[in-house]
């Protein structure tokens, strides 16, 4: 009892400490006065290349800090539709960008700054001996792919259509990173992911490129958002993306060139 009473006495102090630690965190994004912040919502697959690009951008635009929110394109679109404040949106597929555009959230026209193609990822040593896209349909192969509702799954479906192959994955994941995770952990014999995912996984997976992937080249559009309070800087960020520096960084990550 006595112990409890002591505890009750220090409770307010404890609460104060909790609040004091939590509040600065909640306030978040409170950038230093005088400088401006560019908020970029970008598809998860762009994380490493955009982080590198941001360093260049900040060097070229002193006083501007770039902050990112990386997530699945559909998630980001939902957040934007719910009023999340952002300056730039970079999507991993045209459909998601179209939805954001239909909602009247885009300023001007989106620009396709990169493309991505599918690749087969297998665990190191390729234990199941996958050699081609058709091998994925073989009985006993544990294939993991994306669900058709997400861009990587839609791309896989169009390759299936164009080749007449019927795949029966053991799991249809929500995101390409979940697919990759199941290949890296060795649970799956093969996964259908993007070339850039294989690149970012380093030596943890092996890649088997397949010519049929050409049937589903996925463009990545980016746009300045209508609600941006910093449209000039947002425009400069898109210019950097589409320019030689941006294209070089994206190509190093495995992306194909953009059209604009």
């Amino acid at each position: 009892m006595r112990g409890n009473r002591k505890l009750a006495a220090v409770l307010p102090a404890l609460l104060a400490v909790l609040l004091a630690t939590a509040l600065p965190g909640c306030a978040g994004g409170g950038a230093a006065a005088g400088s401006s912040t560019l908020t970029v919502f970008a598809a998860a697959s762009l994380k490493s290349s955009f982080t590198e690009l941001a360093e260049r951008f900040e060097a070229e635009n002193p006083g501007t800090t770039v902050t990112f929110s990386f997530a699945g394109s559909a998630d980001l679109a939902t957040q934007l539709n719910q009023g999340a404040p952002a300056d730039v949106f970079a999507s991993a597929d045209a459909g998601t960008m179209a939805k954001v555009q239909e909602a009247g959230l885009v300023d001007g026209e989106p620009r396709d700054f990169a493309t991505n193609t599918l690749a087969i990822a297998v665990p190191p040593g390729n234990p199941a001996g996958i050699r081609s896209f058709a091998d994925l349909a073989k009985a006993g192969i544990k294939l993991v792919a994306c669900a058709e509702q997400v861009p990587c799954g839609a791309a896989a479906a169009s390759v299936e259509d164009s080749t007449g192959t019927v795949l029966s994955p053991v799991s249809e994941e929500n995101s390409v990173t979940d697919v990759l995770g199941k290949v890296i952990s060795g649970e799956a014999d093969a996964g259908l992911v993007y070339v850039t995912d294989v690149r970012s996984a380093g030596g943890r997976v092996e890649s088997i490129p397949f010519p049929e992937a050409g049937a589903a080249v996925n463009p990545y559009p980016a746009a300045v958002l209508a609600g941006s309070s910093n449209k000039a800087a947002a425009g400069r960020f898109l210019d950097l993306l589409a320019g030689p520096e941006g294209q070089e960084i994206l190509a190093a990550a495995g992306f194909g060139p953009g059209s604009r």
């Binding site: 699945g72 559909a74 939902t78 952990s185």
Partner: protein
């Protein structure tokens, strides 16, 4: 909820400002649910929740949650009895470890399960020799659900066992009953309400399992894609379907919680208990719900 007529007649010992904060707390829980209900597309509600993928997901969820609840009972009852009655060193440590899934992020549970039952996991190669492949199967879903739900049953039951005390057991033992008989004829009937509420909570937790399933079992219609995973997937393209299915899950959860926290006065699911106990009175000590604290 006796808050309505506080103040004058009876002393309740609740300061008024506490009510204000209590209302705020209730709002934190209720408001988001209400906001979700407000977004339900009622015109399409029936087609949305009766689509083939939705029904497959609901059926799978109910089947796997029932299976993992059964597993929780089979494994959780002995564990709760040992934790409540056992005397051996490191008991406290064991209890903390068993309760860990309550506070662990489910995705961590999924990773842990992966490295236990996965192909490359601790038991994976052994299981493969036996011809058992857990990953990407419905069994993986049941395992993930059992992992997260077991502590609920153990905590409920252990609480009931402790509040119930050991008097009746001691009397039965002095009358010559073997420990096995005491367990079956006295202990179990006494804590049956606690066991029932624990089982219902385990079922609810299993039904809501998401993170560990996604990490460990994968997502395939009819095999591993339970209702929460279906909601997560539908949300990508069809928010209306996601909201409608969420409402189904909320309705099931409300029913389950109502069942688990029924007033002790009402005849609980322990109808059989009185007969089995043959003369033993199931005391109110082991009231359902008094257990989780």
């Amino acid at each position: 909820m006796t808050g309505g007529h506080s103040g004058r007649q009876a002393y309740t010992g609740v300061p008024r400002w506490l009510y204000a904060l209590a209302v705020l707390a209730a709002l934190v829980v209720v408001l988001p649910l209400a906001a979700m209900v407000a977004r339900v597309n009622w015109a399409n509600f029936i087609p949305l929740v009766t689509s083939a993928p939705a029904l497959a997901a609901l059926g799978l969820s109910l089947r796997t949650a029932a299976a993992s609840t059964a597993l929780c009972i089979v494994l959780g009852v002995p564990l709760a009895v040992v934790l409540a009655r056992g005397r051996f060193p490191l008991l406290g440590l064991l209890r903390s470890l068993v309760l860990l899934p309550l506070v662990l992020p489910p995705v961590v549970g999924g990773i842990a399960l992966l490295y236990t039952f996965g192909r490359q996991g601790l038991l994976g190669s052994t299981l493969e020799v036996l011809g058992l492949q857990i990953a990407f199967s419905t069994a993986a879903v049941v395992l993930a659900q059992t992992f997260v739900a077991l502590p609920f049953l153990v905590v409920s039951l252990e609480g009931a066992l402790r509040t119930g005390g050991q008097r009746y057991e001691a009397v039965a033992a002095t009358l010559g009953a073997s420990p096995g008989t005491v367990f079956r004829r006295v202990t179990l009937p006494l804590v049956l309400p606690g066991l029932a509420s624990g089982a219902v909570l385990s079922f609810a937790r299993s039904l809501g399992e998401f993170g560990a399933t996604l990490t460990f079992a994968g997502s395939l219609q009819g095999v591993t894609r339970t209702l929460p995973l279906e909601i997560y997937l539908q949300r990508e393209t069809d928010p209306d379907a996601a909201v409608a299915l969420s409402l189904v899950l909320v309705a099931v959860a409300v029913a389950v919680v109502a069942l688990a926290y029924r007033r002790p006065g009402g005849r609980g699911p322990d109808g059989k208990a009185g007969k089995q106990a043959s003369g033993e009175r199931p005391t109110t000590a082991a009231a359902p719900g008094g257990a989780l604290t």
